[in-house]
Structures are given as C-alpha cells and as structure tokens.
Amino acid sequence: MKLPIFLDNHSTTPMDPRVLEAMLPYFVEKFGNAASRNHAFGWEAEEAVETARKQIAKLIHADSKEIVFTSGATESDNLALKGVIEMYHEKGNHIITSATEHRAVLDTAKALETKGKATVTYLSVDKHGMVNPEDVRKAITDKTVLISIMLANNEIGTINPVKEIGKIAKEKGILFHCDATQGVGKIPVNVQEMGIDLMSFTGHKMYGPKGVGALYVRKKAPRVRIASQMDGGGHERGMRSGTLVVPLIVGFGKACELCEQEMEAEGRKLAAMRDRLQTGIMKALEETYLNGHPTQRLPHNLNISFAYVEGESLLMGLKEIALSSGSACTSATLEPSYVLRALGVGSDLAHSSIRFGLGRFNTNEQVDYTIKRMIEIVTKLREMSPLYEMAKEGIDLKSVQWAAH
C-alpha cells in the first residue's frame, strides 16, 4: 500500500485520469477562444464548451443554457448573493441563511451586511446540523429576496431538507440559492424537484480540475436575473464576463458525465467503506462521538470527536494519512470549528474532532490501515492526556475550575 493516504476528499479530490485525457487536446492543439465566432478555432472551442454545458446540466436536471461558468464555488456563491441583492434591491434586501454555511456564503452575506446592502438572518441548526424548513418559513419577511441554504455540509456531511425549503421559497415567491458544492456528483441533485433557483458547485470536488465552477441560474418559472459582478465581454449571457477556460470546462463536463454514470454504485461503495471506518474506530475506542446526522449524511463523510485528545496532535501523529480537524490549532483564528459549535458540540469536543472524507480512489485496505493507526494514536495520546487521567479517576471535568487563558 502506497503512503500517504488521501482521506480529505471534502477539501478537494484527485482528478480522474479520464478527465485529464478529455482535457489534454484543449491546451495546445484546440486552443481557440470559445467567443471567436468567425473561425474554425473558435467554433471548435465553442462546441467543446457546449458539450460540457450539456454534461453538467444533465447531472443536475437543468437546461444547458442555465449553466453560468465561474472560477469555482466561492465565486458562484458571491455571484448568487451579491447578484440577487443588487438586482432585486427595489423588492427587498433580506437574506435568510444558516449558521453552518460555508465561509463563501457567510462572509459574502456579512460583507453585504457591513456595506448596508442587506440584512441577514442566520438560522440555527439542530444537534445534527440540519436546518428546519419551518424556521425558514418563520424567518421570511416582506423584505426577503433570497434564501441561501446549503445542500450538504462540508464538515459534518449533514444533508439539509432542501426540497422542503425549495417548496416554501416557491410558495412565498422568494428565490432559493443552494450551495451544493459537497453534494453534486455524490448524491442525486434535481433542481426541478428541489425547487432550486440558483445553485453553486465546482469541478475539483468531483474529480474534475480546480479553477472552474458553475452557477445554475433558473431561466423559467421564475426567470432569475442577477447583476453581474464581473463586467467585460458579456460572456455567459452577460452574467459573468471573461474568456471561458475551455480545457477546464471540458474537464468539468467530463467529471459530471462520469459522476452521472457512476454515482449510484460509487455512493453505495463509499457508504460501505465509511461504515467500515466508523464501526472499526468507534467499536475499538471508548468515548468517541459522531458529529452530524446519523443517517442523513453524505455517503463519504465521517466526523468523529475523540474525547480527551486534541485534534491537531492527532493529525500530527498520523502524518501518512491526510485528514482534517475542527481543532482551533489547525486554523489561524485559534477558534474551534464554528460548524461543530453551531451543533452545540462543546469546545472541548470540537477541538477533538477529525473529519474523514472518502473518495473514488480509496480502498478498503486504506480504510483498515486508518482504523489501526487511529486506534494506536488515540490510545497513545490518551495515555499522555491529563483529562483522560482525571476522567479515569472519576473526576467530572465539567466541575473543575479551569484557568481559562
């Protein structure tokens, strides 16, 4: 078995070799600008882009004309929130979102608030990280123009009841944006059934290249309009100017096509592997806690808190396995994961959390190795932990007067 092992597939995914193969001709040989309408080089590029647009649209049950290419999900989120607020400012300026959204949504919403362009309601989530559709309904005011709720969370994998939220949005005539970055290509997404008006997603989370993403913008019932945030040649129906990155778009299209064909079988395989990982670790180690929803979660996500050991020190002992932690020590802010905090997970357990993200190229052999190493390192660090020692002595850690620093 080759080391290191990549188990951080929520951060990015390795590109599928079939995607690279599809992209290669579009760097040197077929280099045309898709906006060049007057010669063969342009036509060739345009054709490739339109094929990709169809492949992408098919995966989410949209029309290819509803796909706007961007540089990635962060740009798509920015374009959706800022574009809607700017376009519909006469109608209202209120946004409803949730506390566990990705920073690309939260920081964009905050930026709009700071500039006085929007007022924002941040809905809390339940202990599993799920948004309650009824909370969305209650938060709606006559100034609400946008609801932005993610499909699935990037840390804990919890899948939101998007269909119910879409129904409420439709009922009230409010636009619904969904950041589906972690879900597209992993679980079935249907923008019609889910009542989604705008949707962000990106290539590199689904075995495609980095640097390309899309914003789905509904064309019919209702026809959604957004103010462009990048002006220039009027590309992408005037919503996002800039020369299209043809090779990346071709790769993104191919990645979507592969997901569309393989998602069902792959989802089953990943869920089985994830369950193996979860059982293997949680059966062997006491005081481990699952973060996120027990069933309504992405098939490839696992997030566990290991009481009495700190996340970064865990990762340090697992150098040959790429993982991520909700520990403050892995972030620049020294604050533990805001997502776990929003679930009501205590700071101590948030510091002790590890996120596992399985992907297309992981194997059971890698999973078994990870289980073995996790057990070793947690046991070693607990032997070194004063908290574990106190807990073993029967001291209630909550009753201790800690000198906070």
């Binding site: 700190e310 970064e312 520990s327 070194m384 004063p386 908290l387 574990y388 906070a404």
Partner: protein
C-alpha cells in the same frame, strides 16, 4: 504548517510522561489551561532539598503544547527551585523554533512551571509548620 524537527522529536518521543501522587512529600503540581481552549498541561516536580530531582507531565493539546511541556520537564530536572523560576517562555520558543501562532503553548508551559513551583512551596510551608 511545518513543525520544527525539535517539536516533532518531542512529540514522537515525549520525555517524562506520567504522574506523581499529588499528596506525596516533595511533589509540586501545576495544572494550567482549559479543555475549551484546546490545551491543558499538568506538570509535576519532585524536590529533594532545594533540587528538582524528577519531573513529569501530561498534556492535552497540539503538538507544540506537548513539545513545550516535554521540554520543560527536561529543563527542570537537576535545577534548583530558584533556577527553575528563571525559565522563560521565550527560551522555549527559541529552543523549539515555535511559530508566532504557537507562542501561547510556551506561555502555558511557563505558567505550568510557575504553578508547580508555587504548589511545592505552599506544601513545603504547611509541612514545616
């Protein structure tokens, strides 16, 4: 973030992990930090005469926190009480090449040393009374 070689060495081979009995004669215990903040250090010294003859630690925290406390126990052994008082967090930062975001780990280690020394002195006073 890359760890310095010395931090990695202390993390992989922590010196003096363990515990003394708190109420044992000559033992001083310092416990600093909080679980909510992501680090708790327990540092203990065993004093004979005015010399620290042994030191032990247990730490809940990141690699740099573990390394800082491991290093502290190494430095404490063989020092007199007065010499131990002079250990500064900046010495730990320098020895372990800690980056700015990890300076708080060294501060915590200094606090733990001070707390252990204070605990020993307090105990010694009551014992002589």
């Amino acid at each position: 973030m890359a760890y310095s070689e010395k931090v990695v060495d202390h993390y992989n081979n922590p010196r003096n992990v363990g515990s003394f009995k708190k109420d044992e004669k000559g033992v001083g215990t310092g416990m600093v930090g909080a679980p909510e903040c992501g680090d708790v250090m327990k540092l203990q010294i065993r004093v004979e005469g005015d010399k620290i003859v042994d030191a032990k630690f247990k730490t809940f925290g990141c690699g740099s926190a573990i390394a800082s406390s491991s290093l502290a126990t190494e430095w404490l052994k063989g020092k007199t009480i007065d010499e131990a008082q002079t250990i500064k967090n900046t010495d730990i930062v320098q020895e372990l090449n800690l980056p700015p975001v990890k300076i708080h780990c060294s501060v915590l280690a200094e606090d733990a040393i001070k707390a252990a020394l204070a605990d020993y002195k307090k105990k010694a006073e009551t014992e002589t009374k």
